[in-house]
């Protein structure tokens, strides 16, 4: 039986499964023997508990932390918001892992949906934008990302969506979760944590430009270098990520290994840096998660004050958006992304959240449009 058929078979069996991008294709995890719903009380014990190694390739927990849980972890409160009671975080213990190729070849387009509605219109967006710009002028934040949400009623087959999304956009941190009562489809491009033994790295993205016939990789680099706004936003994120790693790394070990390079994807170029460090002795995964999450590049800077400004502004819970998905191996190694460019399907509603940054020289109209562009790639799947 070939691998694709195996995927179809697992999908049709109805049991929950997770797909996560690997270096050469995808890994599929299923046959979950444990499902842990996280909350403020059990997250610490989940992250510090030692699990008995069986030395198999399923010695790991895979799942996600939602935005609110990560805020609470660093003592930032999220006021009462509109929410549909989606779990704050879930991790699974798989008993089976299957390697898949990049071509998922699932051919069964079939869904129902309404029209997507945005939660903040252009006028209100501009109001929020101007309010935050004042906060930048008074020094309360240096960069802040306004989140907008698109929602519709829907009935979809997540594998169909994920397969089509991967065909057009093979993102390095793409993943899909299909459980009985919800699914997540994501083409996240951003790696937040890679931890192997005593080594840790993070790879923030700040700066995106659309690929065109005229714009090749070299021209994209020139574009970013000449664009003062993109450069300043990127610099800020680099210093912030150096800071977050410095909390948990040995003095002198935090290095900017790749400074402001361009990575090429199917439809766009990203402006990326790679920051690495060597972990201090006796630092556990709980401390690592606390110092790195929520990932700064999608929040703004400085982190605590900016989170407080965002949380007091936002009327709806972010749920998974700007949380993190990934795995923790029983030997302590970890890989986590930042949950962006994702569709959350829950209670027959599909929800897409996007954000873009306000810095001192950004423009409300431009950022509002950029938000829509980011959402459009996902909304187009519903056509």
């Amino acid at each position: 039986m070939n691998r694709t058929n195996q995927l179809t078979k697992i999908h049709l069996s109805g049991k929950p499964y997770i797909i996560y991008k690997s270096q050469n294709g995808f890994d599929l995890y299923t046959d979950f023997s444990k499902k842990i719903i996280l909350n403020n009380k059990n997250i610490k014990s989940f992250l510090t508990k030692k699990n008995k190694k069986q030395s198999t390739n399923t010695d790991l927990f895979i799942g996600f932390f939602g935005y609110e849980l990560l805020n609470n972890l660093i003592d930032v409160k999220v006021p009462k918001q509109k929410n549909f009671n989606f779990p704050k975080g879930i991790f699974y213990k798989p008993e089976k892992k299957i390697k898949l190729s990049n071509k998922l070849n699932y051919d069964s387009k079939n869904f129902e949906c309404g029209n997507f509605k945005i939660n903040i219109n252009r006028k209100n967006y501009t109001k929020i934008f101007n309010r935050f710009k004042k906060k930048i002028k008074s020094g309360e934040t240096y960069q802040i990302k306004i989140c907008t949400k698109y929602k519709t009623k829907s009935k979809i087959n997540p594998l169909d969506f994920f397969s089509r999304l991967s065909d057009t956009n093979l993102a390095p941190e793409a993943f899909m979760i299909k459980d009985n009562n919800y699914s997540i489809i994501s083409c996240s491009p951003e790696t937040l944590i890679i931890k192997k033994g005593g080594d840790i790295s993070t790879k923030p993205i700040a700066g995106t430009v659309k690929k065109t016939k005229q714009l090749n990789k070299i021209k994209a680099l020139n574009y970013f270098r000449k664009n003062l706004k993109e450069t300043k936003e990127h610099n800020m994120i680099v210093d912030m990520e150096r800071n977050d790693l410095s909390r948990i790394c040995k003095v002198g070990s935090v290095k900017l290994s790749k400074q402001k390079i361009v990575e090429e994807y199917k439809d766009l170029f990203h402006y990326v840096s790679l920051i690495t460090g060597k972990l201090k002795k006796n630092i556990n995964n709980f401390e690592i998660i606390k110092s790195m999450m929520p990932g700064g590049s999608v929040i703004g800077c400085p982190k605590i004050n900016t989170l407080n400004l965002l949380n007091n502004q936002e009327k709806e819970n972010r749920n998974i958006y700007t949380g993190s998905f990934g795995y923790i191996k029983f030997n302590g190694d970890m890989r986590f992304n930042i949950i962006i460019r994702s569709i959350l399907n829950f209670k027959n509603i599909s929800e897409i959240s996007v954000a873009s940054g306000v810095v001192v020289d950004s423009n409300a109209n431009h950022e509002f449009n950029e938000n829509f562009l980011k959402a459009k790639a996902l909304i187009d799947l519903f056509k």
């Binding site: 020094g139 240096y142 150096r242 800071n243 410095s246 002198g252």
Partner: protein, 185 residues
């Protein structure tokens, strides 16, 4: 020991790592400062941070109590904080520098650094010192090459130093040398 007082910032641990190249460093947030640690410290650092110095009265108290008794260094908000405590006015500036690399120049021969020397530095500040500013023993020693905004001060007599820019930023070239010099002064 060097005691870094954090102001909920996202750059403070870069400061910690930079100073840790020269001495043992301890760091706490301003609302969790330990009086014992301050007493043990030879140097106190006021970190960068969001907002205005007037938002942090605890830090002002520490400054006034230990001024002249210990070496005190302020970075960005910390720089503004010391000047604020010395009667300076901290105001919004028209052009804002966040994540910006610019050139600063040593403008006086009363500095630890050579007059006329130019440094490339990283900046993250919305606010600035309103001038003219005058306070006993305080000397503005560096200015932005373009805007002339105050970028560093020194009070050699009481060993109080401040940088409006960020010596710990990857945008600052030779930041470690700047720190080494004021720690050995």
């Amino acid at each position: 020991m060097i005691y870094v007082i954090d102001h909920n910032d996202s750059f403070t641990h870069n400061v910690v790592h930079q100073f840790a190249l020269f001495d043992k460093v301890d760091c706490d947030n301003y609302d969790k400062v330990s009086e014992n640690k301050i007493k043990q410290a030879s140097t106190i650092i006021f970190s960068p941070g969001p907002g205005n110095p007037r938002n942090y009265p605890i830090t002002s108290k520490i400054y006034k109590k230990y001024k002249g008794k210990k070496r005190i260094i302020g970075i960005c908000l910390g720089f503004q904080h010391i000047l604020f405590c010395e009667g300076g006015k901290i105001v919004e500036q028209k052009k804002i520098y966040h994540g910006f690399q610019s050139k600063v120049k040593v403008t006086t021969n009363k500095s630890l650094f050579k007059k006329g020397k130019i440094f490339k530095v990283g900046r993250y500040h919305s606010l600035k010192l309103k001038e003219p500013f005058k306070s006993n023993n305080f000397e503005i020693t560096m200015r932005c090459l373009n805007s002339k905004v105050a970028m560093a001060f020194e009070n050699k007599k009481e060993k109080i130093y401040g940088f409006q820019f960020h010596p710990e930023s990857f945008l600052t070239i030779n930041g470690n040398l700047l720190i080494k010099k004021i720690l050995s002064a």
